[in-house]
Subunit: 229 residues, 4 copies
DNA sequence: GATGAATGAGAGTTCATTCAT
DNA sequence: GATGAATGAACTCTCATTCAT
């Protein structure tokens, strides 16, 4: 029933195919960079190696990316976006309980760290200590993640008729959550390759998180009429 | 008969002075490196700049240190040692309660992060992503810290007649503690310069930690009279 | 029988239009190159920029021009031709007096340098020091100009019944004239933008030239039986 | 009788020798650059070639010179200085007559162009069209030369009790003189290798110059006894 | 022990040119 | 004819490291 074949359409099929080819190429390059950055480190990887692996010339890389740093930043952005999506999906089916909220971390471990260890390595190791612009972007991405968590947490807390211990608590918890999962990935995946026990650890981590978070909440401020939810 | 001999002592005064001079020089170099690594980043700092700041020649740096990486590693070692000392001192006056144990983190924030922000920057940012040997050393240092915490925690838990939820719990908690303080330093000191609210955050963090840790403990299986706490 | 044939004429209208289109395109490209070469310098201008300004693709440039150097050379040729034309026109109304001959320089200043400062910049600055082929062409163009002047001068001298001091005088004067106007353009237009006083300078320059040239002439060749030399 | 051997002198002999070695090395590099720039052109010469010819490493060149441009600029400065010195010496023995003044150009031809054709090539060809900073320096050097000539000319004119036709005349003449000798070098040495006839040409050029300059002077208003010339 | 000039391999980046579409 | 993505050789410059003095 769709009449979107071609006749009169502004974008002819050929242009579309070119567009797709272009994106495929960009992805090939990004994938090659990702693999090498994760395996050898950002500094130790040079442009020629990326080009070789992607089976393009160095010039082509510079046609699509401003410079080596840009390659890392684009990679970080894509990874940051992916993490947010995973967290969002995890939160989608939640019932806004604190338990469900904390359980979202499992998705991060399973659907991100274990599924894409290279991306985790880039996000948590290779993008650290690489100069101002990269650090700036890292800060931005982590701020967004922290903010996401903070906002989600605030919604849960509000719905459940609870209140934070102090004005900073929500952000602090969000930051700590980020730190906890960062460390989990770094310690158990990047440093030690203990993928087997990660699932158990994830469960205990959730328990830890839940209790820790609860300790910074009080049942309610003026809770008598706070019977919302 | 020589006037300048040092009366039978094995180490003559002259040698001692030389020894002191040597250490002073090494420290000057390390301090210069620390300042520049923290301010400009490890990669962005070159040996000549360190030599200039330390008022020595490049050759002198290579007389005392194997290479640039060695400079960073020595710095990391000193910092790691200092952190361990601070934690040890914090634990020294403790009564082996979980509260006191968790409270040790305050010392880390006040006596380390706030007192030596440059060292914190090197430990938590500049030593990340700098190649295999540095990473290896970083892993070793963090493992030691994690182990310290784990051992301390196990002692507290045992003394208090409690038991961990699983075989991995102690290490997991230790790792999370490291992640939590790492993040606290990174988020609130390196990224944002919120030194003013850090103390409040430290208190809430302890509360978070305490609750989180407790959640992975059970009062003990056979310990009937372990009714403390 | 074909409807679109063009009544016996060898060149059909369609071909003519195509021809015109082609020339228009070539001119657009040359104009863009001229502007950028004059503004940013030959080396600092790259093909993509020229293509952008001309609103064509890089490929199109290479369809019409052999390479970047060819672009500069074609530009130089056009400019050289234009200068010759201006000088020729200036000489056309002359009465073959030395005064009139020297006055031709005014046209060069007004109708060339002031009217097309970009072209002057390319001829006197951007085409210098750009490699063998360009230099070769520059030499050829300047030789032609010098020759033009020499020939013109010889005609004037002969008609007026004078004779040059030496066999090299004519060429020397021609070369100096070229150098003088080159410098006038460089000093007063390219380096300093003193377009306002140029006209006064042009007059004085003519006076200078006239006297200088005269000093290398003797009143007559065959007069006393030519015992000069 | 000089007691400047060493005792107590702040600069020991060793430092002095090092200083000399350093300057020798700088000169070796500059000479190599000069030769290659003149022979192959500035753009066509790469740093490695200069290093090879100077028998040093590329790094050494960058130890003494900021970059390739700096090499050219330092060369231009040295050449500019040399030209000024030659002109100054030529003027030293002059009796402030216009004839003597114009005759100074002979020194430029013989003691500079013919003695150092490579330097002439750099000054008059290779330093043209090489980007903003080089052009800026070129302008500065030529301005100084022009100014020198202008000042000298003004002194001669004043002493001889003459006056310029207009306010711009002195500068104009100076500029034209520069243009004339520039062209002489370019036309007869760089383009054609007519070193044999240069001397004759130099004489005629002086005659040309003298007449041209005189044409822009008037015997002076109030100068009644200024009956010279 | 200290110096700092010299090294040179190596890296990122540019850009004129080509050619399949 | 026109396009513009792809090429890859070539270049400048950096900087950790060495070593003769």
């Amino acid at each position: 029933m769709e009449s979107m074949t071609s006749s009169g359409s502004e974008v002819p099929r050929r242009t579309l195919r070119k567009q797709r080819e272009k994106e495929r190429r960009i992805n090939t390059i990004l994938n090659s960079a990702e693999e090498l950055f994760a395996r050898k480190g950002y500094q130790q990887t040079n442009i020629d190696e990326i080009a070789d692996l992607a089976e393009v010339s160095t010039g082509t890389i510079y046609f699509y990316f401003k410079n080596k740093e840009d390659l890392l930043i684009k990679l970080m952005n894509a990874i940051g976006y992916q993490i947010r999506r995973i967290l969002g999906e995890g939160l989608a089916g939640s019932d806004f309980s604190l338990e469900d909220f904390c359980a979202v971390g499992t998705g991060f471990i399973k659907d991100f760290c274990l599924s894409y260890p290279g991306k985790a390595t880039i996000m948590f190791r290779e993008s650290v200590g690489q100069g101002d612009e990269v650090e700036e972007q890292r800060k931005r991405l982590f701020s967004v993640l922290t903010q996401d968590i903070k906002v989600g947490l605030e919604e849960v807390v509000q719905r459940r008729g609870m209140v934070f211990k102090s004005a900073h608590s929500a952000e602090l918890i969000a930051a700590l959550v980020v730190g906890i999962y960062n460390q989990l990935a770094y310690h158990y995946l990047i440093w030690q390759d203990q993928t087997d026990i990660i699932s158990d650890l994830a469960d205990e981590t959730i328990s830890f998180l839940l209790a820790g978070t609860s300790s910074l909440l009080t049942p309610c401020g003026d809770d008598i009429d706070g019977k919302d939810d």
